[in-house]
C-alpha cells in the first residue's frame, strides 16, 4: 500500500479530533460518541489500496501522467443549467484519442450519490461538484478527500507544451478553488455580470448601446413611452439588483471602492461617494418609474421570460442567462451583453466588467484511476475541449481565448467574448458574496426595500454599512483580506 503512511497520519488526526469530540460531548452530557465514531470508522475503513497497476500506462509527451489505454474513468457531472452533453462529448473524444472509456453519471444529487462513495473510499475519478446539492469543497478538503491540482496545472499545456497549463488560464480565475493556499478545485466556467438587451428590439427602436448612465436612462424613458419597461430585475431574489448597484459602485469608485466593501471598511458605504452615487443612480430608475411593472415581485424565470417577450429593454444578470433562457428566447431575439453604463467621473472605463469563475471540478484523492483523471482535467483546459463546452453549454471557460473562432457561438455568448476581450485587464470581482453570506443577505434585504420605494438611498447606505460593521465584529472575518 503506497499510501499507508499518509493514511495513517490522516487517521491519527481524525483520532485526535474524535477524542476532542468525546471530551466535549462528555462535558455536554451529549455522548455523541457512538455516532461520530461509527461514521469516521466508515469513512476510513473503506480506503483500501487503490493504485492497481492496470491504470498505469507509460508516460509520454502527449500523455504526461501515463494514463493507461483500456482503463476506465468514472466521471460524475452536475446536470444543471449547463446540462451534461459537453461532458459526453469530452468522454467520446477521450475514448477516441486515448482509448479510455468512461462511465458517465449526470445528476443533480451530488451529495446523495457521492457522500456514501466518499465515505466508503470508493469515489469517482473526476467530479463536477456543483449545484444546490454539491458537497462543499472545504468540507471535502478538510476530510482529506481532494487531490492538490498543482500537478495538473504545472503539466505541459495541450495546446502549447512549452507552457504550463496554468499559464493559459485567465488570471485570477483559479483563486475560487483555493483552500489554505492549495488549489483543490478547478472552477471551470468563466462568468461575466452586467446588463443584457435584445439586439433585435434595439435595432427596431433605433436605440444604441448606452455608454453612460444618462444615455441608459434616455433609452429607458423612450421605452417607457412606447409601453415597454425600462429595466427588469429578478425582484424576488434581490441578489440580481445588487449586481447592478455593486457594479456601479465599483466602476465609479474603482477597485478601492470594491475592496473597501470586501475588506469591511468602516466607510465602505456611509461616507463613500462611489457607493452613494451608485445607489442613487439605481434609485433614479425606480423614482422615474422606469422599472418593468411588477418586476420587484417576479422570480428570475418570470422576469427573464418577460424580458424575452420584449416587455423590458434591459435586465441585469450573469452570463448563465442565455443558457437558462434557451427555450424562452425567440429565434431572432439577438441577445446581447453589455458592461454597466458609466456614471459621470467614474474611475474605471466603460469596458470594465465584473468577471470570475464558477462550477468546481475536483479529483478525489482516492480516485481509482488518477492518471486518467489528471489527463482528463489537463484536456479540459485545451482549446478543443473548451470549444466543445462553449458549443454545448453556451458559456465560456477559464481558458484564455479558449474558443475556436470558427465556432459560431450563440449571440449572447458571442457578445460576452467580445466584452471580455474589450475589458482586457479591466475586470473586477466582489468576494464578499463568497465570504460573508449574512452580510450579503442584509444588503439584499435593504435593496428589496429600496426598489419598492420603502426606503431612500440614504437609508440604504446606512443599512448596508450596518451590515458591514456587524460582519467586521465577527473575529473570523479577520482571516479574509484582499489587497
Amino acid at each position: 500500500m503506497g499510501s499507508t503512511s499518509a493514511e495513517n497520519s490522516t487517521n491519527g488526526n481524525a483520532g485526535v479530533g474524535r477524542r476532542d469530540v468525546i471530551k466535549r460531548s462528555a462535558a455536554l452530557g451529549l455522548a455523541a460518541v457512538p455516532a461520530t465514531g461509527f461514521l469516521s470508522a466508515c469513512a476510513s475503513g473503506g480506503g483500501d489500496d487503490s493504485s492497481d497497476d492496470s491504470t498505469k500506462g507509460t508516460a509520454s509527451k502527449e500523455n504526461p501522467f501515463g494514463a493507461a489505454k483500456g482503463s476506465k474513468l468514472d466521471v460524475v457531472i452536475f446536470k444543471g443549467g449547463y446540462g451534461d452533453d459537453y461532458a459526453k462529448a469530452w468522454e467520446a473524444d477521450f475514448q477516441k484519442k486515448l482509448g479510455i472509456t468512461s462511465t458517465h453519471t449526470g445528476t443533480q444529487e451530488i451529495t446523495g450519490k457521492l457522500q456514501p462513495r466518499f465515505n466508503a473510499g470508493n469515489p469517482p475519478d473526476i467530479v463536477d461538484d456543483s449545484g444546490a446539492q454539491q458537497i462543499k469543497v472545504d468540507v471535502l478538503y478538510k476530510n482529506g478527500q481532494l487531490l492538490d491540482l498543482a500537478e495538473v496545472l504545472d503539466a505541459p499545456a495541450v495546446d502549447d507544451p512549452s507552457k504550463k497549463v496554468r499559464d493559459l488560464i485567465i488570471p485570477g480565475t483559479l483563486d475560487a478553488g483555493l483552500q489554505e493556499g492549495k488549489i483543490v478545485a478547478l472552477n471551470y466556467i468563466y462568468t461575466v455580470w452586467g446588463l443584457w438587451y435584445s439586439g433585435k428590439l434595439f435595432k427596431e427602436k433605433g436605440w444604441e448601446e448606452p455608454k453612460t448612465w444618462d444615455d441608459f436612462l434616455a433609452v429607458c424613458q423612450d421605452a417607457k413611452k412606447q409601453g415597454i419597461g425600462g429595466l427588469a430585475h429578478q425582484g424576488k431574489y434581490p441578489y440580481y439588483i445588487n449586481v447592478a448597484i455593486m457594479d456601479l459602485i465599483a466602476k465609479k469608485g474603482g477597485l478601492d471602492a470594491m475592496k473597501a466593501i470586501d475588506n469591511l471598511d468602516p466607510k465602505a458605504f456611509v461616507g463613500s461617494d462611489a457607493a452613494q452615487a451608485g445607489v442613487e443612480a439605481i434609485y433614479e430608475v425606480v423614482e422615474k418609474g422606469l422599472l418593468m411593472p411588477g418586476t420587484n415581485g417576479l422570480t428570475h424565470t418570470e422576469s427573464q421570460t418577460r424580458w424575452n417577450q420584449y416587455k423590458a429593454a434591459f435586465i441585469t444578470c450573469g452570463s448563465w442567462l442565455e443558457n437558462e433562457q434557451l427555450k424562452q428566447t425567440p429565434a431572432d431575439f439577438d441577445m446581447k451583453f453589455m458592461p454597466m453604463p458609466l456614471l459621470p467621473g467614474s474611475a474605471l472605463p466603460f469596458q470594465a466588467i465584473r468577471a470570475g469563475s464558477g462550477e468546481p471540478f475536483i479529483i478525489p484523492a482516492k480516485a481509482k484511476n488518477l492518471p486518467a483523471a489528471k489527463e482528463f482535467m489537463r484536456r479540459m483546459l485545451s482549446k478543443e475541449w473548451s470549444t466543445i463546452f462553449a458549443k454545448e453549454a453556451n458559456s465560456l471557460t477559464i481558458l484564455k481565448d479558449g474558443v475556436d473562432p470558427s465556432v459560431k457561438l450563440r449571440p449572447g455568448t458571442q457578445s460576452t467574448v467580445e466584452a471580455s476581450k474589450a475589458a482586457g485587464d479591466d475586470t473586477f470581482r466582489y468576494l464578499y458574496t463568497e465570504w460573508y453570506s449574512e452580510m450579503g443577505a442584509a444588503i439584499e434585504a435593504a435593496s428589496n426595500e429600496l426598489m419598492a420605494k420603502r426606503i431612500q438611498p440614504k437609508e440604504w447606505l446606512k443599512r448596508a454599512q450596518a451590515a458591514v460593521d456587524k460582519q467586521a465584529k465577527d473575529p473570523a472575518s479577520k482571516k479574509n483580506h484582499r489587497d
Binding site: G289, S437, E438, A441
Partner: protein
C-alpha cells in the same frame, strides 16, 4: 396482572419505543447539545460556548419578529379555518331545508364535499405554485389581471401582493386556509354524522332553528374534534416553512421578505443553519421552537378541556 404480562407488553413496546428514542428523542438531545456550541455545520469541530446562542437569540430582531409572526398565525389560522370548516360542515350535513321531517344537508352536498376536499389533495409545494400564480406581481397574475381589467389597478403599478409588508402575512394565511378548510370540513362532517339524528329531530319538533341546533347540539357534541383540529392547526401555524420559503421575497435564502415581514421561526432557523453556516445558533432556535410548540399544545389541550357528552 397475570404472570408474564409485563414481559409480553414490553416485548411489543421494545421496537416502537426504541425507534422513537433513536429517531426522535436522540436527535432532540443532540440538537440541544449542538445549541450550546459554535458549530458551523460542516465539520465536527466546535467549541462549547454555554448559553451564548440563547442570549444572542433574544437580541436577534429578525428571530423575535419571526416568533411574533408565528403567534399571529397561531391565532388566525385555527380560528378562521375552524369557523369556516364548521360552517360548511354544518351546511352540508344539517343545514338543508327540512324535507318531510328529516335532517340533511343543502342540495348537492355530496358534490360540495368533494370540491372542498380538493385542495387538501394537493401538496403544499403545489399550493405555493398555484398561489404564486394568483399573487403574481405583474399583469400576468390572476388577481392583478382581473383588477387591471376591471380598471381598479393601474397596469403600470400592479399590486405586489407578496412584496407588501402589510399584506404578505394575510396572503399566506389565505393560502393556508384554502388548503386546510376541506380537510377539517370532512373531519367535522364525519363527527357530525355520528351525532344521532333523533337529537336533531327532537330539537326540530321543539321548534329549534338552524342557529339553535348548531350552537346547542352540534358544537357541544363536536367539541373533541374541534379541540383536535385546533392542535393540528396550531402545529401548522408554528411551521409555515414551505409557503414562506417558496412564495415570499428572498432574504438571502428561504424567503421571509420583504424585509423579514414574513419570516417565521423555521425559515430564520434554516437560513442560519444552511446559508449563514451558524448551525449551533440555528440549533438553539430549534430548541426554542420545540419548547414553544410543547407549551402551546399543553396549554391548548388544558384550556379547551370540557366535560365529555356520551351518546
Amino acid at each position: 396482572m397475570r404472570k408474564g404480562q409485563y414481559r409480553f407488553v414490553a416485548g411489543f413496546l421494545f421496537a416502537p419505543v426504541s425507534l422513537y428514542l433513536i429517531f426522535v428523542i436522540w436527535p432532540y438531545v443532540q440538537t440541544f447539545g449542538y445549541s450550546l456550541t459554535d458549530w458551523k455545520g460542516q465539520s465536527q469541530t466546535f467549541k462549547f460556548i454555554g448559553l451564548d446562542n440563547y442570549k444572542a437569540l433574544f437580541q436577534d430582531d429578525v428571530f423575535m419578529q419571526a416568533v411574533w409572526h408565528n403567534i399571529l398565525f397561531l391565532i388566525f389560522i385555527p380560528v378562521i379555518t375552524i369557523l369556516l370548516a364548521l360552517f360548511f360542515a354544518f351546511m352540508l350535513n344539517a343545514g338543508g331545508r327540512s324535507k318531510a321531517g328529516g335532517v340533511g344537508g343543502v342540495a348537492g352536498s355530496q358534490f360540495y364535499k368533494v370540491v372542498y376536499f380538493f385542495p387538501q389533495v394537493l401538496s403544499l409545494a403545489i399550493v405555493a405554485v398555484l398561489f404564486n400564480a394568483v399573487y403574481r406581481s405583474d399583469g400576468g397574475g390572476l388577481l392583478n389581471g382581473i383588477l387591471i381589467k376591471l380598471g381598479l389597478v393601474d397596469a403600470e403599478n400592479p399590486v405586489e401582493w407578496l412584496n407588501e409588508p402589510n399584506l404578505v402575512l394575510w396572503m399566506l394565511l389565505i393560502a393556508v386556509v384554502w388548503h386546510g378548510v376541506g380537510f377539517y370540513l370532512v373531519l367535522f362532517s364525519a363527527a357530525m354524522q355520528s351525532i344521532p339524528r333523533d337529537i336533531y329531530e327532537a330539537a326540530l319538533i321543539d321548534g329549534a332553528g338552524r342557529n339553535q341546533s348548531f350552537f346547542r347540539i352540534t358544537l357541544p357534541l363536536l367539541w373533541d374534534t374541534v379541540q383536535t383540529a385546533w392542535v393540528y392547526l396550531g402545529i401548522v401555524a408554528m411551521d409555515m416553512f414551505v409557503l414562506v420559503s417558496s412564495m415570499t421575497q428572498n432574504m438571502g435564502a428561504y424567503g421571509g421578505g420583504p424585509d423579514h415581514h414574513s419570516d417565521v421561526m423555521s425559515t430564520v432557523m434554516m437560513r442560519n443553519f444552511q446559508y449563514f453556516g451558524k448551525s449551533g445558533y440555528a440549533c438553539a432556535m430549534g430548541v426554542v421552537m420545540l419548547l414553544l410548540t410543547l407549551v402551546l399544545s399543553v396549554v391548548m389541550l388544558r384550556a379547551t378541556r370540557r366535560d365529555r357528552v356520551e351518546f
